[in-house]
Symmetry: C2
C-alpha cells in the first residue's frame, strides 16, 4: 500500500534534519539509482538518497525509516550484476560512497578496518604499501566497493586459490532495520562464540542489515614473479581436459580462465584481428608465490599434451598481453549490444557437460551464448547479447534452461553475482520449499517490517 505523499515528505524533512546537506531529492540525480550493471531498471526514481558520514548517521536514518515503514536500499558503487542495489519509488537509497576511509591497517594482526564505501582497488593500493592485500578480486574491483563485495560475497578470478569474500572477512559492524548497532564476527583469527552471524551477513544482499564497518582478513603479498600461461586449443573439449587435469593433479594456480569459441569470435570481430585462426578456446593461467615457476611449467606441459598451443612467460608486458586477451572478452561483447551476464557454477568435473548443454540451448532457442569460465572453480558466465533495453523472452527462456542445467549438474544458479531481482523466480528451485521458508523466517527475525531491500532475493 503506497504511503500518502504528506507522510513521505515528512520522512524527507526528518532525513534533512539528521543529515543536513546530504539528502538528495532532485529526480535527475535520483535516476542513477534506478539501475546498476545488470541492465535492469526500476519502474521509477526513489523517494530520496542519503549520504551518511558515520555509523550514527546510518542509525538515525534507519530509525526514521523504521518508524515510517519506508524501505532502505543500501548502495555502494552500483556495479552489481543482479539488480540488488536498484531502488524504486518510495524507497530511501543509502549511499556509502562518502564512507570510504581506511580506519586501521595492522600488519601483526594482518587485518584492516575500513568503512564500506571504499573501492576494493583503492584499499588494495593502500595495503600494498604495507606488503599486504585483500584477496577478493571481482572483475569490478577497481570500480566496486568493499561493502558491496561483502554484501554479495563477491567471487572473482582468484577463488580456487584464495577463497571467496566470506573467507576474507573477520568481523562486521551492522545496523539493523530499527537502528540497532551489532558487532558480529571477531577481530581474532578464531572465534566460536554463538552463531556465526558474520558469515550469515556476508552475501545477504542488504536484506538482513546494513554493513557499516568491515574488519578484513589480509594476506601478505605473494613473493616473487607471477608466471603467466596463455594457451589456444582447437576444441573446447581439449581446453576443458587441460583445466580439469590441472586441478585433478593437485596444482593450484592463482588464476585459471577459459573462453569459448563464441567469445573468441566476438573478440575477433571487435578487434578486427584474426587472432589464433581456427582456435576454439583460450585458457589463461597465472601462478604466483614460491612455487610459481615449477607449477606453471607443469601446467604448461598438461596444456601442451592436451593439444594446446602454449605460451609461458614472466615478462610483465607479455604477461599483460595474455591477461588482457581474457579481459577483452567483456568489452567485445558489450560493443555488440545489451548484455545479460549469467553466472552459474558447477562442480569442476561438470564444466564440459555445462558447455555442451549451453550449445544445445543455443540451438533450441536460436540465440548465441558466448561463455567465459573461471575454470579453476567451475563458475561459468553464459552471456546473452541482444538489442534494446528489455531482455527478450527467448533469452529468459534460454537462461532458465541454463539454470535448470546447473542445478541438474549439482551446481548453483549463481556463483558470485547474487540473486538480487534477476534470479528471484528461480531461488525456490535451488533451495527447495523447506529451506526457502526457513530463509524467509530468518529474514523476518532481522527485519520484521521488511524495510531492508524489500523485493530483493525473495519475490
Amino acid at each position: 500500500m503506497p504511503m500518502p505523499l504528506t507522510e513521505l515528505s515528512a520522512v524527507v524533512e526528518s532525513l534533512r534534519t539528521v543529515l543536513p546537506g546530504r539528502v538528495e531529492t532532485d529526480p535527475d540525480l535520483l535516476a542513477r539509482y534506478t539501475t546498476d550493471r545488470s541492465g535492469h531498471r526500476s519502474s521509477g526514481g526513489p523517494l530520496v538518497a542519503v549520504h551518511p558520514h558515520s555509523i550514527e548517521d546510518v542509525q538515525a536514518v534507519c530509525r526514521i525509516a523504521c518508524a515510517a515503514r519506508v524501505p532502505i536500499v543500501s548502495r555502494g558503487a552500483g556495479t552489481g550484476l543482479a539488480g540488488g542495489a536498484i531502488a524504486g519509488p518510495g524507497e530511501i537509497v543509502m549511499s556509502f560512497r562518502d564512507m570510504d576511509q581506511v580506519l586501521e591497517v595492522s600488519e601483526v594482526n594482518r587485518l584492516a578496518v575500513v568503512q564500506p564505501g571504499i573501492l576494493n582497488g583503492q584499499l588494495n593500493a593502500v595495503l600494498a604499501e604495507h606488503g599486504l592485500w585483500w584477496a577478493p578480486d571481482p572483475a569490478s574491483k577497481d570500480i566496486s566497493t568493499v561493502g558491496g563485495n561483502v554484501a554479495m560475497n563477491a567471487g572473482g578470478l582468484l577463488c580456487a586459490k584464495y577463497g571467496v569474500t566470506r573467507e576474507a572477512v573477520l568481523a562486521l559492524k551492522v545496523v539493523l532495520a530499527d537502528g540497532t548497532l551489532l558487532s558480529v564476527g571477531h577481530r581474532t583469527v578464531k572465534g566460536v562464540t554463538g552463531y556465526d552471524l558474520c558469515a550469515l551477513m556476508i552475501g545477504s544482499e542488504g536484506t538482513l542489515g546494513i554493513i557499516v564497518e568491515c574488519t578484513l582478513k589480509l594476506q601478505p603479498l605473494p613473493a616473487g614473479d607471477a608466471v603467466t600461461i596463455g594457451a589456444f586449443f582447437e576444441t573446447l573439449d581439449d581446453a576443458v581436459s587441460a583445466v580439469t587435469e590441472t586441478t585433478r593433479r593437485g596444482h593450484v594456480p592463482a588464476i585459471m580462465e577459459l573462453m569459448d569459441r563464441r567469445t573468441l569470435d566476438f573478440v575477433r570481430q571487435f578487434t578486427g584481428q584474426d587472432i589464433a585462426p581456427g582456435a576454439g578456446a583460450y585458457v589463461l593461467v597465472q601462478c604466483d608465490g614460491a612455487s610459481a615457476a615449477d607449477t606453471a611449467e607443469r601446467i604448461a606441459a598438461i596444456a601442451q599434451s592436451s593439444g594446446g598451443t602454449v605460451e609461458i612467460t614472466t615478462d610483465p608486458d607479455e604477461s599483460r598481453r595474455l591477461v588482457d586477451f581474457r579481459r577483452g572478452a567483456f568489452p567485445a561483447l558489450e560493443a555488440m549490444g545489451t548484455l545479460l551476464v549469467e553466472d552459474i557454477a558447477v562442480p569442476r568435473d561438470q564444466m564440459g557437460a555445462a558447455f555442451a548443454a549451453i550449445r544445445r540451448i543455443e540451438d533450441k532457442h536460436g540465440v548465441v551464448i558466448p561463455t567465459t569460465c573461471h575454470a579453476g572453480d567451475g563458475n561459468l558466465h553464459p552471456t546473452f547479447v541482444f538489442t534494446g533495453d528489455d531482455v527478450p523472452e527467448r533469452v529468459w527462456d534460454a537462461a532458465a534452461e541454463i539454470f535448470t542445467t546447473a542445478l541438474q549438474l549439482g551446481g548453483t544458479l549463481t556463483g558470485e553475482h547474487g540473486i538480487g531481482l534477476l534470479k528471484r523466480r528461480w531461488l525456490g528451485d535451488e533451495l527447495g520449499d523447506a529451506q526457502y521458508d526457513l530463509q524467509r523466517r530468518i529474514k523476518h527475525v532481522f527485519d520484521p517490517d521488511n524495510i531492508l531491500n524489500p523485493g530483493k532475493v525473495f519475490a
Copy 2:
C-alpha cells in the same frame, strides 16, 4: 516440566520400532554419555541412546522426539571440551559413531562427501591415498569426528595458514528438529544463492540442526619436506616478540606454538628431565609447501635475534622430537590433576598483554595457570589444574577474569572449543543484549520447541 514416565517409555518403544537393535537403555552404558573431555558431568544418565545408520534413521528419530517434545543431543566421539555433547535425564543421545563412511572422494572437484561419524584422522588416512587432505587439525583429530569438528567449527594448530573448519566445508545435509532434511551450501567452490545457512550451521553446537552428511573442501597435500624449528627463550616476552615479529614480517608458517614457563615446569616435573634449564618459553614452528626452507630460515633468524636458542631441522625424527615436546604439555598437565582448559583468543598484537594478565590473575587468586598458545593465530589455552571432580570456585573466579580480559583486549571467550555448557554464563558478555536476543530468535526459527541440545550455548 518432566514428562510422565509412561510417555517416556512409549518414546523408547517407538525408537525401538524404527531402529531395532540400535537403541541403548542400559544405565551402565548410558553413563558414558554424561560427560566429555571437559570434565563436566550431567546430573544423571540420559533416557536412551540411539545409533542411526542412515539419514532416514535420523529423520525417524527426530519425528518421534519432536512429537513427544523429548530433547536430542547429537554426539560424535565425545571429545568436546565445553560440555556441548553431554546428555542428561530425559534426553535422547543420537550417536553418530555408526555413520562413519566415506561416500565419495573426487580429485578433480577436490572434495569428499562423508558421514559425520568418521574420525578426522581416519578420513585423512583415506584422503592421503589420493594426494589430498582435509585441513582442520584440532589436537583431538585422531579421536574426534568430522561431524563434531563441523558442529564446533574446530580450530587447531594450522588455522593461521589453512583457516578454520568453516573454510573447509562446502555443503552439509542437516536434519531439523521435526525431521525435515535440508541441503545447505554448495558442491561448488562458489555459490551465493540466498543466505549462507551452511556457515550458520558450522559451529552451532547441535542446537540448530543435526548434521548428517558433510561435503568437505580438500587441499592437495603440501609438496616437499616440512621444516621444523624448536626454540627456547629465557623470557616469555622474548618468545612473544619472536612470534609477533614473524607474523608482522608476512611469514605464514603452518604451525606456530608457544608454551610458557608454567607449562615447561609441568613437563619437567612429569618427565623428570631438566629440559632447557632456565628457559621460560618454548616456541615450535613448522613450515610446509614450496617455500618451507626459505621461510623457516627467516623465522629461525627472527627467533635467534629475539634471544632464542634455535634448532632447525628437516630430519623426520628430530622434527618429531621438537613437535612431541609441544604435544607433551597436555599429558603432563593431566597427570597432575583434573584440568579445566580455557580457550580465549586475542588479536595477535595482544598476546603479550594476555599472558601478563594471566600472571596477575594467578597472583590474585592463588592459582597456577600454565598456558599454551597457538601463537600463529592468538588462541591461548590457560589451563587450571586441581584435585577432585568439581571445579573449585576460585578457579571459576580466575577463569571469569580471564574471559573479561580477553574481551577487553578485543578478543573472544572461545577460539575453538565452543560455549557448550561451560561458558553459557559469559555468552551475553561477549554478544551484548541485542545480539544475544537475535541469536535466540534464530534458534527459535530452526527449533521452535527447543528440543535440539537444549541448555547448551544459551542458558
